[in-house]
Amino acid sequence: MTTPDVLRPVEPQTVPGRRRTRRSVTLAVGCVLAGLIALLAVVSLLWLPYDADDTSGGRLAGPGDGHLLGTDKLGRDLFTQLMTGSRIAIGAGLGSVLVAAALGVTLGVLAAFAQGWLDDTLSAFLDILIAFPTLLLAMLIVAARSATLGSAVLAIGLAQGAVVARLTRILVKRVLAQDYVTAARTSGTSWPRTVLGHVLPNVWPTLAVNLALQFGLAVLAEAGLSYLGLGAPPPNASWGRMLQEAQATFTTAPAGALAPGVLLVLLVIGVNLIADGLRDTLDPATRRRST
């Protein structure tokens, strides 16, 4: 960051109208994709095509014949499992992001106020934590507790908390250097009020976008943990575990090895697109970039 965002020239090639259209298209496509999965999760609470442990369909039946996508190796309806799996995916995403936000924002604000060696130590600590893959931390935590969805969510949230904390620290430091914060301080506003009134409102848009991205990463991390057998235990139909179970029969029954992956990708792309669209809407300074 060498140039303050405000000083950046507006991109000449992009007409404002076209930019707005693209932005709303991104947001709309994202909402549709993520909304589809969310709809699946909501419907699954009210109605399921088959009972979750109904094995009457016969093992590894192909798509059609009463089973939209066929059955798994125990004869359970695949589509029913996909529906209940959407609850786990969304729940894991939301839970992890909540943990990450609570931990990361608190730690980040504290680190931003730290000075000198304490600042160096804290940011180095966060750097090390970030370099450790989420999955590794998660494996340690799952070993300490047991393989449940809660352990997985806690572990993913902790790992992501470090990322959120580092981002928060950078954002808050930038706001703290602004003249209006100095003005607020010299006019006698207390630190807590400065943080709540000036700092958080200014860092919130960027944080919200990052948290949306973390949601997608959390969904992928939970799927990875479940694939390794460290997520929600059976008979919970986590998409990651469904993929792991279907791996051996990929060529004979491809539906089971493809469908959960497709839904995972749709959900994560949907949320990422929402994040991109949100950033363009919330944060005018980065509007011209769309990474």
């Binding site: 090390i128 370099a131 450790f132 590794l136």
Partner: protein, 321 residues
């Protein structure tokens, strides 16, 4: 620069010392008694106590810690509780798989992502610029293990070109087989890694493309290529280097899932079984080496950043902030 190097080196050592304390304490906080792994199910209290004594877990924590540090100082990573084999050679054997896997994937990802990310930024108003951004958007949403499954199904099970998993018993003594068994895992990691790298490279390039000094250089008559070469590349590479460092470190440790998909005997799978069996020396050894690698890579990334960007030299660590 020399003063900076000394300060940064001291910082590295302090971090390593702190990390080893944290590591040691954390592992002792895990529930479950490693002595259980050594004794049979109906073992008497005396047998369990004997097992504890044999692995030293009945001694006070500070004593265990200094013992471990002493071992480390002499290059000994300890002995596995479960297999009774020394940890060092076991880790070394695993590194023979993990290091080539990681480095090859990293190099491949950089070779793909740097030009692709630059093109995605420079040509963002053309169809292939948009396509590149779209592909990387898709790439970061694909679970790495699923990509692995699909590659196995297509290139190993259907086409039969490559093995679907495993690593030759003889290891690198059978070089052709070893390379063949690593092709799909390398491609899997490289694809996922380059998808996220493309976004960073694209964003860094966009920053530079919109900067005043590049516009000035162009206004003074430099061609685009010359302006980019003299004024653009250095600036764009600073944030990318720090991301590269993090990506390299996390791939080295994070290959667990890919190793599991392809049944490779790597560091990740050693760690996974170690954790499951409460095998402290194994977990401790692997995590200590990993921390060391993470710190060294961070050190190298900081150093390279300071060589590239003199403005950072007053700061202790990090660059993209």
């Amino acid at each position: 620069m020399a003063r900076y190097l000394l300060r940064r080196l001291a910082f590295l050592l302090v971090s390593l010392a702190l990390a080893s304390v944290v590591l040691f304490v954390l592992l002792r906080m895990l529930p479950g008694d490693p002595a259980n792994a050594l004794t049979s199910v109906g073992a008497s209290p005396e047998q369990i106590a004997a097992a504890r004594h044999s692995i030293g877990s009945d001694r006070p924590l500070p004593e265990q810690f200094t013992h471990w540090l002493g071992q480390l100082a002499s290059g000994d990573l300890g002995t596995s509780f479960v297999s009774s084999l020394p940890v060092g050679p076991e880790v070394g054997a695993r590194l023979n798989v993990t290091v080539p896997l990681t480095l090859a994937a990293f190099v491949l990802a950089v070779l793909v992502a740097v030009p692709a990310g630059f093109a995605a930024a420079h040509k963002r108003h053309t169809w292939y610029g948009a396509l590149l951004s779209g592909v990387s958007q898709l790439g970061i949403a694909v679970p790495v293990f699923w990509l692995g499954m699909i590659l196995i199904a297509v290139f190993a099970l259907n086409a039969g070109w490559l093995p679907s998993g495993g690593f030759p018993q003889d290891g690198w003594a059978a070089p052709a087989e070893a390379v063949r068994s690593l092709v799909l895992p390398v491609v899997t990691i490289a694809l996922v890694m380059s998808a996220s790298l493309i976004r960073y490279v694209r964003s860094a390039t966009l920053d530079v493309l919109g900067s005043d000094h590049l516009r000035t250089a162009r206004a003074l008559g430099s061609s685009f290529g010359r302006a980019m070469w003299r004024h653009g590349l250095r600036n764009a590479s600073v944030p990318v280097i720090s991301v590269l460092g993090i990506e390299l470190a996390s791939t080295l440790l994070g290959a667990v899932v890919v190793e599991s998909v392809y049944a490779l005997p790597g560091l990740g799978s050693l760690l996974a079984t170690g954790i499951a069996q409460h095998d402290y020396p194994v977990v401790q050894g692997v995590l200590f080496l990993s921390t060391l690698a993470v710190l060294l890579i961070g050190f190298a990334a900081d150093l390279v950043q300071r060589i590239v960007d003199p403005r950072l030299r007053g700061r202790l660590s990090g660059g993209a902030r």
